[in-house]
C-alpha cells in the first residue's frame, strides 16, 4: 500500500532530480524508471482511487481510468524509447527535464481532481521549457521564453477556471464538465492552449524545432496529447471542438506546405494530427472517443519516429532546411527507411498504425451523418500524405542530391527508431491489443476491402498530386506569418514606438514643465483673482490638512447624525 502513496508519475519527476548524481545512475534511471512506472500503472486495479484530504478538499492524486491508463502507458513507452534515443548525445539537463516533463504528464493522466491536475500541468510547463533551454543556443532560449509565456497564459486560464468552477459547484472532481458558466469555458481555453488550438497554434512550430535533436522528440509527445486527454475526460461531445479541430487540421497542412525547416514541417503536422483528435472528441460518440484515444497512442509513436529521423539528420549534418538537404538516403539508409515508415504511418497507410486509429474518427463522423465533417476529414487524410507523408521524406532524404554523405545515425538512435517503426507496423497489422485497452468496447473492423481501396486511392492520388505539382512545392528561404506576429512583432514594435515617444517627452517634459509652471505663475500673478486667498497656490501640506479636516467632518457626521 505504501508505494501507492505517491502517483506513478512522481517516480519520473523525483528520479529526474537524481539524474545529476552520475552517468551510471542517470542511465539506470533512464532505463529503469519508465518500466517501473508502467508496471506500477498496470498493477493498480481498474477504478483504483487514492484520496488525500487537503484544505477541506478530498484530493485524488491517483485515480485510474481506462482512458488515463492508455495515455499513461504510451507516455511511459515514450519516455523509455526517447531515453534510448537521447542518452548518449543529450545533456543531463535535457534528460532530467524530459523525465520530469514525462512524469508530470503521466501525473495528469492519473489525477482524479483538478488541483492535482493543475499542479502536474504547471510542472509540465517548467519541464518542457527546460528541455528547450537545454539546446543552449540563443534562438532556443528566446523561443523557450515565448513558449513559457504562452503556457503561463494557458495555466492562468486554467487556474481561474478551476477556481470559478470550485466556487460554482463546490466540486474539484476532474470529470465531464458542463459549459454552464465562464469558469468552464476558461478551463476549456486552458486545455485548448496546450492542444495548440487557434489562435494559439504558433507556439508549437515556434518552440519545438528550436530544441536539440532529441529534445524535440520528447516535446512532440506530451503537452499536446495531455491536452487531448483532458479534453476527452472533461469535454466529450462538445460540438465547438469539431470546427476547432477541423481548423487545426487544415492549418497544419497549409503551414507545413509553406515551410522549409524539416522539423517545423513536423511541428505543424502535430497541430494537424491533434486536430483529428479534437474533432473526434467534439463528435463525442464511443467510437469517436476510442478513435481519439487510439489515434493519440499511435500518433505519439510515429511522430516521435519522424522527429527522431529528423533529429538524426540534424545531428549528423547540422542542417535543418529542406533547401540544404536531399539525397541523404545514400549514406543514411536506415534513417531513411525508418523515417519513411513513420511518414507512412502518419499518412494512415494501410498496415500501419495510423490506418487502424484515424479511420475510427472518420467512421464516427459518417455514423453521425456529419457529411461536411466526413468530407473534410477525407480531404485532410489526403493532405496529411501531401504535407508530411511525402513532403518530409522527399525533401530530406531524396529530391536533388545535396552532395552531403553524412555517416549513418548513431547506434542508440537506430535502436530507438527501429523499436518505434516496429510498433508502427505492428499496431497496423495487429491492432487488437491496442483496441483491447481502449475506454470503450471496439466494434470496428479497419481491414475491409472498401476501406483499403478507398485509402489507397486517396493516398496514391494525393501522391500523384504532389509529384505533378512538384515545381510549385519548391522550397523558399522563408518563414510564414502566424498569430505569434502579434506578440513577436506588433507588441515589441509598438512598445518601441511608445518608448521613443516617452524619451522625446522625457527630454521635452522637464523643459516643458518648467515653462508651464513659469507661465502659470506669470499668469496668476497678473490675474485679478490672485488677490484672493483661494486663487493663490497652496502648499501640499495644507491641502492634506484640509482634506483630513473634511474627512474627519464626514466621520463625525456619520456617527452623530
Amino acid at each position: 500500500m505504501t508505494e501507492l502513496f505517491f502517483p506513478p508519475g512522481l517516480l519520473l519527476v523525483l528520479g529526474a532530480l537524481l539524474m545529476p548524481l552520475g552517468l551510471k545512475v542517470r542511465n539506470l534511471l533512464i532505463f529503469g524508471l519508465p518500466v517501473l512506472c508502467l508496471a506500477l500503472v498496470w498493477s493498480l486495479p481498474a477504478d483504483y482511487v487514492f484520496t488525500l484530504p487537503f484544505l477541506g478538499f478530498e484530493l485524488e492524486p491517483v485515480k485510474v481510468t481506462s482512458t488515463g491508463r492508455v495515455f499513461a502507458t504510451i507516455f511511459c513507452i515514450m519516455a523509455l524509447v526517447g531515453g534510448i534515443f537521447a542518452y548518449r548525445q543529450a545533456s543531463t539537463l535535457e534528460l532530467a527535464a524530459a523525465f520530469a516533463y514525462a512524469g508530470s504528464a503521466i501525473g495528469v493522466t492519473l489525477s482524479g481532481d483538478l488541483i492535482t491536475l493543475f499542479i502536474f500541468w504547471e510542472v509540465m510547463a517548467i519541464g518542457s521549457t527546460l528541455v528547450i533551454w537545454a539546446a543552449k543556443h540563443d534562438g532556443a532560449y528566446r523561443a523557450s521564453i515565448r513558449y513559457l509565456l504562452i503556457h503561463l497564459l494557458g495555466g492562468l486560464f486554467l487556474m481561474a477556471g478551476i477556481a470559478g468552477h470550485v466556487i460554482d459547484t463546490g466540486s474539484i472532481r476532474f470529470e465531464a464538465l458542463q459549459l454552464d458558466s465562464i469558469a468552464q469555458y476558461l478551463i476549456l481555453a486552458g486545455f485548448l492552449v496546450n492542444a495548440g488550438a487557434p489562435p494559439f497554434s504558433a507556439w508549437i512550430a515556434d518552440a519545438y524545432p528550436e530544441a536539440s535533436p532529441s529534445g524535440s522528440v520528447f516535446l512532440s509527445a506530451f503537452t499536446t496529447k495531455t491536452a487531448v486527454f483532458t479534453l476527452i475526460i472533461a469535454f466529450p461531445g462538445t460540438w465547438i471542438l469539431i470546427p476547432i479541430g477541423i481548423f487545426m487540421i487544415f492549418y497544419g497542412i497549409i503551414y507545413a506546405l509553406l515551410e522549409n525547416d524539416m522539423r517545423r514541417i513536423l511541428a505543424y503536422s502535430i497541430v494537424n494530427q491533434v486536430g483529428f483528435m479534437v474533432t473526434g472528441i467534439g463528435i463525442g460518440t464511443e467510437m469517436a472517443l476510442n478513435g481519439a484515444t487510439a489515434h493519440a497512442f499511435a500518433h505519439i509513436i510515429y511522430k516521435a519516429l519522424l522527429l527522431m529521423s529528423a533529429g538524426a539528420v540534424l545531428y549528423r549534418t547540422g542542417k535543418r532546411r529542406c533547401t540544404e538537404l536531399g539525397g541523404l538516403f545514400q549514406s543514411m539508409p536506415w534513417t531513411t527507411l525508418l523515417g519513411t515508415i513513420g511518414a507512412l504511418a502518419i499518412s494512415s497507410f494501410p498496415f500501419t498504425s495510423g490506418f487502424v486509429t484515424k479511420s475510427m474518427i472518420a467512421q464516427s463522423a459518417a455514423d453521425q451523418h456529419l457529411m461536411m465533417v466526413w468530407f473534410a476529414l477525407a480531404a485532410a487524410s489526403a493532405g496529411v500524405f501531401l504535407h508530411a507523408g511525402i513532403k518530409f521524406p522527399w525533401f530530406v532524404f531524396f529530391q536533388k542530391d545535396s552532395g552531403m554523405r553524412p555517416p549513418e545515425a548513431p547506434g542508440n538512435m537506430i535502436v530507438a527508431m527501429t523499436v518505434f517503426a516496429l510498433l508502427c507496423v505492428g499496431l497496423g497489422v495487429f491492432p487488437q491489443p491496442l483496441y483491447d485497452i481502449l475506454p470503450y468496447t471496439v466494434s470496428y473492423e479497419p481491414y475491409t476491402a472498401a476501406h483499403l481501396v478507398a485509402q489507397f486511392q486517396l493516398l496514391l492520388f494525393a501522391g500523384l498530386a504532389f509529384f505533378v505539382l512538384l515545381p510549385m512545392m519548391k522550397r523558399t528561404l522563408t518563414i510564414s506569418l502566424d498569430f505569434d506576429w502579434f506578440y513577436r512583432k506588433l507588441f515589441p514594435a509598438s512598445s518601441a514606438i511608445v518608448e521613443k515617444i516617452l524619451i522625446v517627452l522625457q527630454s521635452n517634459s522637464i523643459e516643458g514643465a518648467k515653462a508651464l509652471l513659469q507661465g502659470s505663475k506669470d499668469l496668476t500673478k497678473f490675474k485679478v483673482l490672485s488677490r484672493f486667498h483661494l486663487a493663490d497656490s497652496w502648499p501640499t501640506g495644507s491641502m492634506v490638512l484640509w482634506i483630513g479636516v473634511i474627512l474627519g467632518g464626514y466621520l463625525l457626521m456619520d456617527i452623530y447624525l
Binding site: I253, I254, L258, A378, A450, Q457, I479, K489, P492, E499
Partner: protein, 102 residues
C-alpha cells in the same frame, strides 16, 4: 565541347545512385501509374457504404484526393504571397531592440 559535356553527363549518370538515374525514374513513374490504375479498377469491385451517396461513384476517392490536394497546394501558394517573410524577419526586430537598449 558539346560532345565532352555529353560524355560527362553519361559518366555522371552511371555514377549516380541507381534510384537517381533518368531511366529508373521513368520506370518508377510507369510503375506508379500502373498502381494508380490498379486502385481505380479495384474500386469497381467494392461497394463504399458511408451513406452519403457520392462516395460510391466511380473512382471517387481517387479524384477527390487529387482535386483536394491540388486545391490545398494552390491555396497554400496563394496564402504564401501574404504570409511568407524572410527567415530573419523576427531576428531583425530583436536586433533593433538590442541596439536600442545598448
Amino acid at each position: 565541347m558539346n560532345q565532352e559535356t555529353m560524355s560527362e553527363k553519361a559518366i555522371n549518370e552511371k555514377d549516380k545512385h541507381w534510384l537517381l538515374r533518368q531511366e529508373n525514374i521513368r520506370k518508377l513513374w510507369i510503375g506508379f501509374i500502373a498502381v494508380l490504375v490498379l486502385t481505380v479498377v479495384a474500386g469497381l469491385f467494392v461497394h463504399q457504404h458511408e451513406s452519403f451517396g457520392i462516395e460510391d461513384s466511380f473512382a471517387f476517392f481517387a479524384w477527390y484526393g487529387f482535386i483536394t490536394c491540388v486545391g490545398m497546394v494552390v491555396f497554400a501558394k496563394l496564402l504564401g504571397i501574404f504570409l511568407k517573410r524572410p527567415e530573419d524577419y523576427y531576428d531583425k526586430v530583436s536586433e533593433i531592440n538590442e541596439a536600442h537598449h545598448d
